[in-house]
Symmetry: C2
Subunit: 364 residues, 2 copies
Amino acid sequence: MRHVQVQTTKNEYPIIIHHNFDLLCEHLVKQGVQGKKVCLITDDNVSPLYLNHVVKLLQTITNEVSYIVIPHGEKNKNLDTIQTIYEGLLAHKLDRESVLIALGGGVTGDMVGFASATYMRGIDFIQIPTTLLAQVDSSIGGKTGVDFDGYKNVVGAFHQPRLVYINTQTLSTLPIREVQAGMAEIIKHSLIESATYFKYITSHPREILALESEILEELIYESCLIKSKVVSADEKEKGLRATLNFGHTIGHAVERLLNFSLLHGECVAIGMVAAAYLSKGLNQISAKDFMAIEACMEAFNLPTRLDNLDPEVVYQELYYDKKTKYNALNFIVLTSIGSCEMKHDLEKNVIIDAIKYIMQGDSQ
Amino acid sequence: MRHVQVQTTKNEYPIIIHHNFDLLCEHLVKQGVQGKKVCLITDDNVSPLYLNHVVKLLQTITNEVSYIVIPHGEKNKNLDTIQTIYEGLLAHKLDRESVLIALGGGVTGDMVGFASATYMRGIDFIQIPTTLLAQVDSSIGGKTGVDFDGYKNVVGAFHQPRLVYINTQTLSTLPIREVQAGMAEIIKHSLIESATYFKYITSHPREILALESEILEELIYESCLIKSKVVSADEKEKGLRATLNFGHTIGHAVERLLNFSLLHGECVAIGMVAAAYLSKGLNQISAKDFMAIEACMEAFNLPTRLDNLDPEVVYQELYYDKKTKYNALNFIVLTSIGSCEMKHDLEKNVIIDAIKYIMQGDSQ
C-alpha cells in the first residue's frame, strides 16, 4: 500500500494505492462514511466487472447502499446524464450527509464529482478510478464537470473528493491502448517535475506495459505525488497548475481536429513532442533531451506524428479554447527534462515550426 | 449610502445600499470589473424597467457588455433556464475572467449565482436585487440553485457574489403585497437577533409601507447586517445559519400544501406565528411577547392564520424536506424577542398545538 496526502485550501484527503479492494472499507471508515447513506455510481462498462464486489464491501460498513448505472463514454458526459444521477439520488433519498462514490474512468469521476458538487449545494464524494488516466490525473485535484454544446468541461465546479482509492488491479481489465494512453500523462508528470522519475519510466517500459504490480504501484504513487503537489499549490489553476497543461495546447487542438478518433493521451503524446521540439527550438533543452523524450513516447507505443493536418489549421485551432485568457496563448515549455515554465509571447513561426515537425507523418 | 461588509472563508465583499444606481459603477470598478466582459442577466418582468439603464451604466466602464433575458417566475427556476444562460454565455464568448450580473428578484439571483458557480468551474458574479426579499435575504450569503423534480433548490452550490448593490428605489415598482412579504424576513431577522430592531420595525409600519427612503435604507441596512453576520459565522449552514430558518419549518410545509398560492414571505409569517406560539408553550417567551409578534405581522398586513388545512397533514409535511438530517426535525424556537435556539427533540403534541393555533381561521 502507498499513501499520498493531498492538501487543499479547506481540507486534506488521502490517495490510497493498493493492488486490491481490501483496504477500501477501512479508509472509508476513517473518512466517516460508516453508517451513512452511500450511493455508488458507475457506468455500464464497469458495472459488470466491479459493481457487485464493491457493493458487498460497502454493505459491511453501512446498511444504506444504493447504486446508479450511467451510460459510458464521453458522448454521455452531459447534463442529461447529470439529471439521471439527480433523479437517482432523490429516488434513493440521499441527503446532505450522504456520500457518492464514483467507480470508473475519468468521465464517471468528472460527472459524479459535479453531481456531488451541486446536489443539495454540495455533498461528499469518493473516487475509485479504474483507468490509468483517471488514477494519475482526473481523479486528483477536484476538477469536475461535463461537456456542453460541444465545449469540453465548460460546465463544472471545483469539488475535492474525501478519498481517492486506487486498486491497480483494475488496470488488468483495461485495453492495452488505454494503458499506453494513460502513460502519456505519467510521462508528462516526469517531464515537468522530475528528471529522476523520467529516467525511471524510460528504464522500465516492458515491466510497466506488462502491468507488474510493484512497478505499477510505484509509478502511480510518483505521479499522484506530483499531481497532488501541483494542485495543492494552486487549487484553482491561477498559475502553477497550468504546468499540467504541458503538451495539451497542441494536443487538444489535434484531438478536436481528428474528431476525437485518437485517445486523449495519444493526442497529448503528439502535443508533448511538439512542445518539446519547440523547447529545443528556443534552446531551452538539448537535441539529446528532445530525442530522449521522443524515444520515451515510442517505447510506450504512443504516436508522435501525424500526416493529415494543415499546420495553419492546427495553429488556428489553438485559439479555440474558450478558457484562453483574453485570447493570449499560454504555452508550457520545458526548461530541461524535469522543469518547465509558461510562455505568453511565443512568435507564430516558432509554434508553426513545431506543428510542422509533428506533421511529418510516420516516415521518421 | 450604507455599507455592510460580508466576511466569508475565502473572501469578503460589500453590500452597498443606496437610493439610486449612481454608485454602481464606482463599486464595480473597486471590484476590478472595469474592462472585463460583463453579462447582465435579468427576467422579462424586470428588463423593461431597468435593463437599458443598467446596460448604459456598464458601458461607461467596459466595452464588452452583453445581456440575457430569461423567463420570470419560480416555474422557470430550473435546469432548462440554466442551459439557456450557458448558451448565452458561450454565444457572447464569456471567459473565466468574465463577470455575470444578476438584476432582479430571488429567482434570478439564485439562477445567475448557480450559472456563475458552474460556468467554467466558477466565475465572478454580482447581485443587483430588485425585490425586498432578495435585498435582505436571498442575495446575501451565497446560496444559489434551482428546483428539480418538484424539490426546491435541491440542485445548487455555495457561491458568494463579489458585490451586492441594492437600489432601494427599485421597490417602488414592486407590488405592495411583495413588499409586505419581504417584511416577513425582516421581522424574522429582528426576532432571532435584536429586540431593538424589532422595536424599530413595530414603531414604523406606516413609513415602511410608504417606502420612505431613509427608513427603507435603515431597515435594509439592519437586516443585511444581521443576515451577513449569521452567514459569515456559518457559511455552509452547519449550525448558526440554521437560525435563519426560524418560521420556515412550518412555513415551507404550508407553502407546499397550499400549492404556492401564497407568497413565500406570507407563509413564513404564518410559520413564525406558529413557532412563536410554540415558544410560548415551552415558557420561553411571555404571552405579551407572543402578542407583540402577532401584532407586528398584522401591522404589515401579513397573514397569521389559515383555516383549510388538517394539522396532522401539516405535521407530516414537516418531514418532507429532504435536507432534514437523518429525519430528525430541527426546530428554531425563540428564547426571547431577539434571541433563539435550535431544538432537536420537540414532542409531537407541542408542534401539533402550534399548528392548531394557526388553523383557527381569521376569526381571532
